[in-house]
Protein backbone atom coordinates (compact mmCIF):
# COMPACT_ATOMS: atom_id res chain seq x y z
CA UNK A 1 0.00 0.00 0.00
CA UNK A 2 2.33 2.64 1.29
CA UNK A 3 4.58 4.44 -1.17
CA UNK A 4 7.50 3.61 1.13
CA UNK A 5 6.45 0.00 1.02
CA UNK A 6 9.74 -1.43 2.22
CA UNK A 7 9.95 -4.60 4.26
CA UNK A 8 12.55 -3.14 6.54
CA UNK A 9 12.25 -4.85 9.91
CA UNK A 10 11.79 -1.58 11.73
CA UNK A 11 8.73 -0.84 9.64
CA UNK A 12 7.44 -4.32 10.36
CA UNK A 13 7.86 -4.02 14.10
CA UNK A 14 6.31 -0.59 14.11
CA UNK A 15 3.34 -1.92 12.19
CA UNK A 16 2.99 -4.93 14.45
CA UNK A 17 3.05 -2.71 17.49
CA UNK A 18 0.38 -0.46 16.02
CA UNK A 19 -1.79 -3.40 15.05
CA UNK A 20 -1.46 -5.01 18.45
CA UNK A 21 -2.55 -1.83 20.17
CA UNK A 22 -5.43 -1.56 17.74
CA UNK A 23 -6.43 -5.17 18.38
CA UNK A 24 -6.28 -4.56 22.09
CA UNK A 25 -8.46 -1.52 21.73
CA UNK A 26 -11.02 -3.36 19.62
CA UNK A 27 -11.08 -6.33 21.96
CA UNK A 28 -11.65 -4.00 24.87
CA UNK A 29 -14.42 -2.32 22.94
CA UNK A 30 -16.04 -5.67 22.13
CA UNK A 31 -15.89 -6.91 25.68
CA UNK A 32 -17.48 -3.71 26.82
CA UNK A 33 -20.58 -4.56 24.81
CA UNK A 34 -23.59 -5.70 26.80
CA UNK A 35 -23.79 -9.48 27.18
CA UNK A 36 -27.41 -9.57 26.13
CA UNK A 37 -28.75 -7.59 23.22
CA UNK A 38 -31.74 -8.65 21.21
CA UNK A 39 -30.88 -6.30 18.36
CA UNK A 40 -33.84 -6.07 16.05
CA UNK A 41 -35.01 -9.68 16.33
CA UNK A 42 -38.04 -8.52 18.28
CA UNK A 43 -39.28 -6.12 15.62
CA UNK A 44 -38.52 -8.68 12.91
CA UNK A 45 -40.56 -11.43 14.51
CA UNK A 46 -43.28 -8.90 15.14
CA UNK A 47 -43.62 -7.96 11.50
CA UNK A 48 -42.77 -11.37 10.10
CA UNK A 49 -46.30 -12.35 9.13
CA UNK A 50 -46.64 -9.09 7.22
CA UNK A 51 -43.49 -9.81 5.27
CA UNK A 52 -44.88 -12.74 3.31
CA UNK A 53 -42.14 -15.21 4.24
CA UNK A 54 -41.44 -17.20 7.36
CA UNK A 55 -37.68 -17.12 7.21
CA UNK A 56 -36.68 -14.00 9.08
CA UNK A 57 -33.41 -13.61 7.20
CA UNK A 58 -35.18 -13.65 3.86
CA UNK A 59 -37.74 -11.28 5.27
CA UNK A 60 -35.02 -8.82 6.18
CA UNK A 61 -33.20 -9.31 2.89
CA UNK A 62 -36.11 -8.98 0.55
CA UNK A 63 -38.64 -6.98 2.47
CA UNK A 64 -37.48 -4.95 5.41
CA UNK A 65 -34.09 -4.06 3.95
CA UNK A 66 -34.89 -4.95 0.36
CA UNK A 67 -33.40 -1.65 -0.72
CA UNK A 68 -29.96 -2.82 0.43
CA UNK A 69 -30.35 -6.00 -1.54
CA UNK A 70 -31.48 -4.04 -4.54
CA UNK A 71 -28.39 -1.84 -4.49
CA UNK A 72 -26.23 -4.85 -3.89
CA UNK A 73 -27.53 -6.51 -7.04
CA UNK A 74 -26.33 -3.31 -8.58
CA UNK A 75 -22.88 -3.90 -7.10
CA UNK A 76 -22.79 -7.37 -8.58
CA UNK A 77 -23.76 -6.13 -12.01
CA UNK A 78 -21.30 -3.29 -11.68
CA UNK A 79 -18.49 -5.71 -10.95
CA UNK A 80 -19.37 -7.55 -14.14
CA UNK A 81 -19.46 -4.34 -16.14
CA UNK A 82 -16.10 -3.40 -14.72
CA UNK A 83 -14.60 -6.77 -15.56
CA UNK A 84 -15.97 -6.60 -19.07
CA UNK A 85 -14.66 -3.10 -19.52
CA UNK A 86 -11.20 -4.44 -18.79
CA UNK A 87 -11.07 -6.71 -21.81
CA UNK A 88 -12.34 -9.79 -23.55
CA UNK A 89 -12.25 -13.42 -22.45
CA UNK A 90 -8.84 -14.96 -22.10
CA UNK A 91 -8.42 -17.63 -24.80
CA UNK A 92 -10.20 -20.87 -23.93
CA UNK A 93 -7.64 -23.60 -23.54
CA UNK A 94 -8.51 -26.33 -25.99
CA UNK A 95 -7.29 -29.26 -23.88
CA UNK A 96 -10.12 -31.75 -23.60
CA UNK A 97 -11.32 -32.12 -20.01
CA UNK A 98 -10.34 -35.27 -18.15
CA UNK A 99 -12.62 -38.27 -18.22
CA UNK A 100 -13.45 -37.91 -14.54
CA UNK A 101 -14.41 -34.29 -14.81
CA UNK A 102 -16.51 -34.98 -17.85
CA UNK A 103 -18.62 -37.71 -16.30
CA UNK A 104 -18.68 -36.00 -12.95
CA UNK A 105 -20.05 -32.84 -14.44
CA UNK A 106 -22.56 -34.80 -16.43
CA UNK A 107 -23.71 -36.22 -13.12
CA UNK A 108 -23.42 -33.13 -10.99
CA UNK A 109 -24.84 -30.38 -13.09
CA UNK A 110 -28.46 -31.59 -13.09
CA UNK A 111 -28.24 -32.16 -9.36
CA UNK A 112 -26.85 -28.70 -8.82
CA UNK A 113 -29.59 -27.09 -10.86
CA UNK A 114 -32.20 -29.08 -8.99
CA UNK A 115 -30.63 -28.11 -5.68
CA UNK A 116 -30.58 -24.48 -6.69
CA UNK A 117 -34.26 -24.43 -7.42
CA UNK A 118 -34.94 -26.18 -4.14
CA UNK A 119 -32.91 -23.63 -2.23
CA UNK A 120 -34.74 -20.88 -3.97
CA UNK A 121 -38.07 -22.33 -3.04
CA UNK A 122 -37.21 -23.20 0.51
CA UNK A 123 -35.72 -19.80 1.12
CA UNK A 124 -39.15 -18.51 1.99
CA UNK A 125 -39.42 -20.64 5.09
CA UNK A 126 -36.00 -22.02 5.98
CA UNK A 127 -32.37 -20.93 5.46
CA UNK A 128 -31.78 -20.54 1.76
CA UNK A 129 -32.80 -18.07 -0.85
CA UNK A 130 -31.69 -16.31 -3.93
CA UNK A 131 -28.01 -15.91 -3.14
CA UNK A 132 -27.45 -19.43 -2.02
CA UNK A 133 -29.36 -20.73 -4.98
CA UNK A 134 -27.57 -18.41 -7.31
CA UNK A 135 -24.17 -19.51 -6.11
CA UNK A 136 -25.06 -23.17 -6.51
CA UNK A 137 -26.27 -22.42 -10.01
CA UNK A 138 -22.98 -20.63 -10.60
CA UNK A 139 -21.11 -23.71 -9.45
CA UNK A 140 -22.93 -25.67 -12.13
CA UNK A 141 -22.02 -23.07 -14.68
CA UNK A 142 -18.38 -23.12 -13.66
CA UNK A 143 -18.31 -26.85 -14.04
CA UNK A 144 -19.75 -26.46 -17.52
CA UNK A 145 -17.05 -24.03 -18.49
CA UNK A 146 -14.35 -26.26 -17.04
CA UNK A 147 -15.57 -29.00 -19.31
CA UNK A 148 -14.83 -26.66 -22.19
CA UNK A 149 -18.41 -25.79 -22.95
CA UNK A 150 -18.95 -22.40 -24.55
CA UNK A 151 -22.00 -20.25 -24.80
CA UNK A 152 -23.65 -20.32 -28.20
CA UNK A 153 -22.58 -17.40 -30.40
CA UNK A 154 -26.16 -16.34 -30.96
CA UNK A 155 -26.86 -16.17 -27.25
CA UNK A 156 -23.75 -14.19 -26.43
CA UNK A 157 -25.20 -10.84 -27.37
CA UNK A 158 -28.42 -9.32 -26.19
CA UNK A 159 -29.93 -12.49 -24.67
CA UNK A 160 -26.99 -12.94 -22.36
CA UNK A 161 -27.14 -9.30 -21.30
CA UNK A 162 -30.86 -9.55 -20.68
CA UNK A 163 -30.30 -12.57 -18.47
CA UNK A 164 -27.62 -10.67 -16.60
CA UNK A 165 -29.75 -7.65 -15.82
CA UNK A 166 -32.95 -9.62 -15.24
CA UNK A 167 -32.56 -9.66 -11.47
CA UNK A 168 -31.94 -5.98 -11.03
CA UNK A 169 -34.49 -4.85 -13.57
CA UNK A 170 -37.32 -7.07 -12.29
CA UNK A 171 -36.48 -5.96 -8.77
CA UNK A 172 -36.75 -2.38 -9.86
CA UNK A 173 -39.80 -3.03 -12.00
CA UNK A 174 -41.64 -4.45 -9.01
CA UNK A 175 -40.65 -1.46 -6.93
CA UNK A 176 -41.71 1.05 -9.54
CA UNK A 177 -45.01 -0.70 -10.27
CA UNK A 178 -45.75 -0.59 -6.57
CA UNK A 179 -45.00 3.12 -6.66
CA UNK A 180 -47.48 3.47 -9.50
CA UNK A 181 -50.04 1.88 -7.20
CA UNK A 182 -49.44 4.72 -4.78
CA UNK A 183 -47.29 2.72 -2.42
CA UNK A 184 -43.69 3.40 -1.58
CA UNK A 185 -40.79 1.92 -3.50
CA UNK A 186 -40.68 -1.84 -2.74
CA UNK A 187 -43.58 -1.57 -0.33
CA UNK A 188 -45.28 -4.91 -0.99
CA UNK A 189 -48.90 -5.30 -0.03
CA UNK A 190 -48.79 -8.20 2.48
CA UNK A 191 -51.29 -10.19 0.43
CA UNK A 192 -49.06 -10.54 -2.61
CA UNK A 193 -45.75 -10.11 -0.82
CA UNK A 194 -44.91 -13.80 -1.01
CA UNK A 195 -45.47 -14.01 -4.73
CA UNK A 196 -43.54 -10.87 -5.47
CA UNK A 197 -40.62 -11.95 -3.35
CA UNK A 198 -40.54 -15.31 -5.07
CA UNK A 199 -40.61 -13.61 -8.47
CA UNK A 200 -37.77 -11.28 -7.55
CA UNK A 201 -35.79 -14.12 -6.05
CA UNK A 202 -36.22 -16.29 -9.09
CA UNK A 203 -34.97 -13.55 -11.38
CA UNK A 204 -32.20 -12.73 -8.97
CA UNK A 205 -31.12 -16.37 -8.80
CA UNK A 206 -30.73 -16.60 -12.54
CA UNK A 207 -28.87 -13.32 -12.79
CA UNK A 208 -26.61 -14.04 -9.87
CA UNK A 209 -25.78 -17.44 -11.22
CA UNK A 210 -24.94 -16.21 -14.68
CA UNK A 211 -23.14 -13.14 -13.39
CA UNK A 212 -20.92 -15.22 -11.16
CA UNK A 213 -20.10 -17.52 -14.03
CA UNK A 214 -19.32 -14.57 -16.22
CA UNK A 215 -17.13 -13.11 -13.52
CA UNK A 216 -15.39 -16.45 -13.24
CA UNK A 217 -14.57 -16.50 -16.92
CA UNK A 218 -13.09 -13.07 -16.37
CA UNK A 219 -13.79 -11.13 -19.55
CA UNK A 220 -16.47 -10.24 -22.02
CA UNK A 221 -17.34 -12.71 -24.77
CA UNK A 222 -15.48 -12.42 -28.07
CA UNK A 223 -18.65 -11.47 -29.89
CA UNK A 224 -18.58 -8.18 -28.01
CA UNK A 225 -15.67 -7.12 -30.16
CA UNK A 226 -17.58 -5.64 -33.06
Amino acid sequence: MNPDNNNSTLFRYLLIAVLITMTAGLVYALLSLPLLASGLSFQVTQNLQLSGVENPVTAVLLNFRAYDTFLEMGVLLLALLAVWSLGTLPKQRETAPGEVLNSLSGLLIPILVLMASYLLWVGASAPGGAFQAGSVLAAAGVLLILTGWQLNEKLQGLPLRFALVAGLSIFMAVGVVLMLFGRRFLEYPPSVAAALILLIEAAATVSIGITLVALFSGGRPESEQQ
Binding site: N7, A37, G39, V44, D68, L76
Partner: protein, 100 residues
Protein backbone atom coordinates in the same frame (compact mmCIF):
# COMPACT_ATOMS: atom_id res chain seq x y z
CA UNK B 1 -17.35 -15.47 28.67
CA UNK B 2 -19.58 -16.95 26.05
CA UNK B 3 -18.74 -18.48 22.69
CA UNK B 4 -20.24 -15.39 21.08
CA UNK B 5 -17.34 -13.33 22.27
CA UNK B 6 -14.79 -15.97 21.38
CA UNK B 7 -15.97 -15.88 17.79
CA UNK B 8 -16.07 -12.14 17.66
CA UNK B 9 -12.58 -11.90 19.12
CA UNK B 10 -11.37 -14.30 16.47
CA UNK B 11 -12.99 -11.98 13.99
CA UNK B 12 -11.03 -9.04 15.32
CA UNK B 13 -7.86 -11.14 15.12
CA UNK B 14 -8.54 -12.01 11.48
CA UNK B 15 -9.19 -8.36 10.72
CA UNK B 16 -5.83 -7.26 12.05
CA UNK B 17 -3.94 -10.19 10.54
CA UNK B 18 -5.42 -9.32 7.20
CA UNK B 19 -4.45 -5.71 7.64
CA UNK B 20 -0.88 -6.71 8.45
CA UNK B 21 -0.62 -8.93 5.41
CA UNK B 22 -2.19 -6.29 3.22
CA UNK B 23 0.43 -3.75 4.17
CA UNK B 24 3.45 -6.04 4.25
CA UNK B 25 3.20 -8.30 1.21
CA UNK B 26 3.87 -6.73 -2.17
CA UNK B 27 2.29 -9.55 -4.17
CA UNK B 28 -1.16 -8.50 -5.34
CA UNK B 29 -2.76 -11.89 -4.90
CA UNK B 30 -1.71 -11.85 -1.28
CA UNK B 31 -3.07 -8.36 -0.85
CA UNK B 32 -6.40 -9.40 -2.30
CA UNK B 33 -6.52 -12.45 -0.06
CA UNK B 34 -5.64 -10.24 2.87
CA UNK B 35 -8.55 -7.94 2.13
CA UNK B 36 -10.84 -10.96 1.99
CA UNK B 37 -9.53 -12.19 5.31
CA UNK B 38 -10.23 -8.81 6.84
CA UNK B 39 -13.69 -8.96 5.38
CA UNK B 40 -14.42 -12.38 6.83
CA UNK B 41 -13.18 -11.09 10.14
CA UNK B 42 -15.72 -8.29 10.04
CA UNK B 43 -18.50 -10.65 9.01
CA UNK B 44 -17.57 -13.03 11.81
CA UNK B 45 -17.90 -10.26 14.37
CA UNK B 46 -21.16 -9.17 12.82
CA UNK B 47 -22.72 -12.62 12.90
CA UNK B 48 -21.26 -13.76 16.18
CA UNK B 49 -22.53 -10.81 18.14
CA UNK B 50 -25.99 -11.46 16.75
CA UNK B 51 -26.21 -14.49 19.04
CA UNK B 52 -26.54 -12.44 22.18
CA UNK B 53 -30.32 -12.70 22.25
CA UNK B 54 -32.06 -13.91 25.36
CA UNK B 55 -34.12 -16.42 23.38
CA UNK B 56 -31.04 -17.92 21.80
CA UNK B 57 -32.59 -17.45 18.36
CA UNK B 58 -30.03 -15.17 16.75
CA UNK B 59 -30.96 -11.74 15.48
CA UNK B 60 -31.68 -12.14 11.75
CA UNK B 61 -30.74 -8.65 10.63
CA UNK B 62 -26.96 -9.15 10.91
CA UNK B 63 -27.27 -12.35 8.89
CA UNK B 64 -28.96 -10.46 6.13
CA UNK B 65 -26.28 -7.83 6.34
CA UNK B 66 -23.60 -10.48 6.13
CA UNK B 67 -25.14 -11.96 3.01
CA UNK B 68 -25.20 -8.54 1.44
CA UNK B 69 -21.65 -7.99 2.56
CA UNK B 70 -20.51 -11.29 1.14
CA UNK B 71 -21.99 -10.55 -2.24
CA UNK B 72 -20.27 -7.19 -2.24
CA UNK B 73 -17.01 -8.85 -1.25
CA UNK B 74 -17.36 -11.44 -3.99
CA UNK B 75 -17.92 -8.80 -6.63
CA UNK B 76 -15.02 -6.73 -5.39
CA UNK B 77 -12.75 -9.74 -5.31
CA UNK B 78 -13.69 -10.74 -8.82
CA UNK B 79 -12.90 -7.25 -10.08
CA UNK B 80 -9.67 -7.20 -8.10
CA UNK B 81 -8.51 -10.51 -9.54
CA UNK B 82 -9.18 -9.53 -13.11
CA UNK B 83 -7.54 -6.18 -12.54
CA UNK B 84 -4.55 -7.98 -11.08
CA UNK B 85 -4.26 -10.11 -14.21
CA UNK B 86 -4.35 -7.01 -16.36
CA UNK B 87 -1.75 -5.26 -14.21
CA UNK B 88 0.64 -8.16 -14.29
CA UNK B 89 0.09 -8.43 -18.03
CA UNK B 90 0.89 -4.73 -18.44
CA UNK B 91 3.78 -4.40 -16.02
CA UNK B 92 5.16 -7.93 -16.16
CA UNK B 93 5.07 -8.45 -12.41
CA UNK B 94 2.03 -9.04 -10.20
CA UNK B 95 2.87 -6.16 -7.88
CA UNK B 96 1.92 -2.55 -7.57
CA UNK B 97 4.08 -0.43 -9.89
CA UNK B 98 5.98 2.41 -8.28
CA UNK B 99 4.19 5.73 -7.90
CA UNK B 100 3.83 7.47 -11.23
Amino acid sequence: MSAVFVYSLVGIGLFNLGLYALIIYPHLLRKILAVNIMGSGVFLVLVALAGRTASGVPDPVPHAMVITGIVVAVSATALALVLMLRVSAATGQPELPEEK
